[in-house]
Each structure stands twice: as structure tokens, then as C-alpha cells.
Amino acid sequence: MTGPRLPVSSVLMTPPLLTILALGLAPLTIVVVWSFWSWDPSTYWIKPDLSLAGYAGILEAGRWTVIVSTLVKAFGTALLCLLIAYPTAYAVHFLAGRRLSIILLALITIPFFTSYLIRSFSWRLVLGRTGVLNTWLQDLGITNAPVDWLLFSNFAVVVGLVASYLPFATFPLLLSMRRVDPTFLAAAQDLGAGFWKSLTSILLPLTMPGIFAGFLFVFVMVVGSSTEVQMLGGAGASIVSVMINDVMRVANYPLAFAISTIVLIVIFGLVLIGNRIFGLASLFEDQSP
């Protein structure tokens, strides 16, 4: 193993790196640069400039409230997903046999692979006034009239978001549980620790990287989501992606990209801080020496 090491990795890195630079970095550069350009409302033209008009536009028409409410929604959805995903991951990893765990994994994966569009649309059929849920509620005599707030409301949006992004929380949690040495748990049991004791003092601390990664993935995906709000939200419901889309109707690139820049700073900041504290990369690393 005395051959030249560095060249091999550089050669391997070149094609993916070039792809990421060309398709990833170049557009992001444009986003940041154009966010400082100016836009003429009468002609819809943009021209190179150094203006803060785009950023000033965020403070107008309550756009900043949409950004804040998006972040709140993302935070809440991420927490909800963790609450559902942790027991799920626990069951798949610790309780199910090998065969059952593969079947469960496949079931968990399916929503991830079906179109967000189709799934959001299907929720309309479940939550609508004449939908499945309302029909059941009335058949069981729980309500007399259809419940209106089930669809085209924040409730529907959160249901759609949790359903869409749950796998993003489950998988990092599973990966982190796989890295927990089972002898720790056995030792705790031998020493008389009950379920809750070993959960809070061993499993939770050891799966922290997975908890954080799951939170982060869901958070980021919700910030970037749009279909759930468009399909399930009430009148006037908005989220950052929808707002950017609306702004682009008049080709206001500076404003759209100013919003994008703010959102990207929040997201990348979270990713980098999270990586510093929890070591995201270590979740996916090989454990072999």
C-alpha cells in the first residue's frame, strides 16, 4: 500500500465535484448576487446593481411573517415526526425479527417514494367534507355535521407534512440505533435498570446524533415544501416556497432571491452547527476498523 494515495481520491472526486459545482454552486452564487440587483416594476426587468431593495421587500406585505410561520411550522412538524418516528425506529430495530424488520422498513419507505403531489391530493379525499374521515365520524355518531376544519386548514397541512416527511426522521434514528452497542443495554438491565431508566440514560444520549439528524432533515424538507400547503392549506395559507413562486409571477428575481438567501442562511447554518455538535457524517460512516 505504498502507491500514491492522494491522486486516486482526487481522480474519483473530480466528476461528482464538477457536477456539484456546476449544478449546485453556480446557481447558489446567482441567487446571492441577483438578490442585490434592482428590479423595475414597470418593465419587469432586472439590472446589475448593488441595492437592498430585494431585502427591503421582505419587510413589506407581511412577507417576513410568512418566513417566521414557515420556520415555526417546520419546527413543530419536526418535533411531531420525532415523537412518532422514535417508537417506530425502536420497534423496527429492537422488537422486530430480521424478516419483519425488512418488511416494516419497506412499508416505512413507501411514502418516501410516492409523489408528494399524489399523496397531498389523496388527503383531500380523506379529510374533505364528504371524505372518509367525515363519513366515519358521522356514521359513528360523533358529529352530526361534517367537520369543516379538517381540510384546507393548518391541521390538514400539518397532517400532510408529517405524512410526507416522517421517513426522513425514521431513517437517521434507525441508523443511530444500529450503532448502539447492545451490550450496554444488556448491562443496564443486569444492573436492574427498568425500561425508562435505560431509555433515558443510555439509548437517548447515544442516539442523539440520529435525533438531531432526523429533526434537521424534516425541518429542512418542510421549509422547502410547497405542494402540501398548495393542496391542503386554507385560503391565503402560505409558506416560503409558495411565496417565492408568487413573487416570481412578476419575475421579481431580486426579491425572490433575497428570500431564498435568508432561507438558505438559516438552513446551512443549522446543518453546519449540527454537524459541529453531533457529527452528522459519523452516522453514515462504516464502523469497521
Binding site: 461528482p16 422498513l105 419507505t109 417514494f113
Partner: protein, 229 residues
């Protein structure tokens, strides 16, 4: 509520006659296949590089997965701005470019986790016995990570097939299926779109089922299956 006896395949039968949907489906399948091939190849290279690297591992990992965190609207809009500025017309190629960037991080993570089966000692042993790096790759690494490559291919294919936001900004004259469906869903639903949604859903489920059956078989057949858990 519809009754079970109302079930019929009428709208599935009507599917092939809907020119717009069939054209969009063909376009989507083509784009998804090319995206999957490219994303799997690129991620394999990226994962191999990751395996070789030592000090800059984390930096490389973050570089490859960061595009995953960029919201679809921003990525699609920014890419379309880049393409328009450099005089590239919107076409299936521009959609593939957007989807490649979207699928690559996922494929990379899948392939990376499958690298857990590759022990460094195997490679060292092969090197001691005189195997070149290429031979080590073909005879040891590749067979061990093959399930990862297959999953990465299926992952990328389905991610591209169902992707909407980026395609919305990047598609040329022929829209992809999700873009066409979105238009139809918002302009009074014809049952044909339910049939199309159903078809896509079943295809996706079948892909996942095939992949997990593949894993089950591996578990049964090979002692290497132990590495999976």
C-alpha cells in the same frame, strides 16, 4: 361514499387514450432512467473517494449532501436562471440536471451505508497478494456494495419520477408527469388522473417490494447478510 361494487377499471382503460398523460409519462420514465444511471455512477465515485479520504472526509461528505438541503423551488428557479443566462434552452436535459443534483445525495448516502460491508482488511489482504487497485475494486468492493448500488438506482429513479418542483421550472416543451398532473388536479379532476396516480403508486410500491425481496433473499443465501444488521 362509493361502494365496493362500484369498482371498475374504466378509467385505467381510458389511460392509454389520454395523449397528454402518456406523453408526459414517457418523458418522465426517460428522465428518471437517465437520472438514475448518472446519479448512481456519480455517487459511486463520490463514495469511493470518501472511502479513500481521511482528513477531509467530513468536508467531502457535507459537499456531496448539501444540495439535498436546498429547497426545490430555490434550486429549480436558480438553475433555470443559470440556464437562461448561458443560453441553454429548457429541455429534458435541463430537467435531468436538476434531478441529478436532487437524487445524488440520497444515492450517495445509500451507497455509503452499504460500504459498511467492505472491511479494510479484505482490501489489504488482496493488495498483499498482488491485486491492483482495479482488481480489488472489481473482485471485492463491487460485489460487496452491489445491493447498495441497486437500492441507489431505485431510489434515484423514483425520486426523479415523482419530482415536481424542479421539473416545474426546468421542463421544456414536454412537461413531466407530475407537472401535468398538478395542472389537471387544480383544474377540475377527471378520474383519469386518479387512475394515473394509482398506476404510479403501484409501480413505486412494486419497486420497493422488489428491492426488499432482494434483501431478504440475500439474508437467506449469504453469510455476508449478517453485515446488514
Amino acid at each position: 361514499m362509493p361502494r365496493l361494487s362500484d369498482l371498475s377499471l374504466t378509467w385505467y382503460a381510458a389511460l392509454p387514450n389520454d395523449r397528454a398523460l402518456v406523453g408526459a409519462l414517457q418523458q418522465s420514465l426517460m428522465i428518471a432512467t437517465i437520472t438514475a444511471v448518472l446519479a448512481t455512477g456519480m455517487s459511486l465515485l463520490a463514495a469511493l473517494a470518501y472511502f479513500e479520504l481521511r482528513a477531509q472526509r467530513t468536508a467531502w461528505f457535507l459537499t456531496v449532501i448539501l444540495p439535498m438541503f436546498v429547497p426545490g423551488v430555490i434550486q429549480g428557479l436558480a438553475l433555470s436562471a443559470v440556464f437562461t443566462r448561458s443560453g441553454i434552452k429548457a429541455s429534458s436535459l435541463t430537467v435531468i440536471a436538476g434531478h441529478l443534483l436532487w437524487a445524488m445525495p440520497f444515492a450517495f448516502i445509500v451507497i455509503l451505508t452499504s460500504f459498511a460491508a467492505v472491511r479494510r482488511s479484505y482490501l489489504t489482504a488482496a493488495a498483499d497478494l498482488g491485486a491492483t487497485r482495479w482488481r480489488q475494486f472489481v473482485d471485492i468492493t463491487l460485489p460487496l456494495i452491489r445491493p447498495g448500488l441497486i437500492s441507489a438506482f431505485i431510489f434515484s429513479f423514483l425520486l426523479s419520477l415523482n419530482e415536481f418542483t424542479r421539473a416545474f421550472y426546468l421542463a421544456g416543451r414536454q412537461n413531466t408527469l407530475p407537472v401535468v398532473l398538478f395542472g389537471k388536479m387544480n383544474s377540475g379532476a377527471s378520474p383519469v388522473i386518479y387512475a394515473m396516480s394509482g398506476t404510479i403508486f403501484l409501480v413505486s410500491v412494486a419497486c420497493v417490494a422488489l428491492a426488499s425481496m432482494h434483501f431478504m433473499l440475500r439474508l437467506k443465501l449469504s453469510p455476508a447478510g449478517r453485515a446488514l444488521r
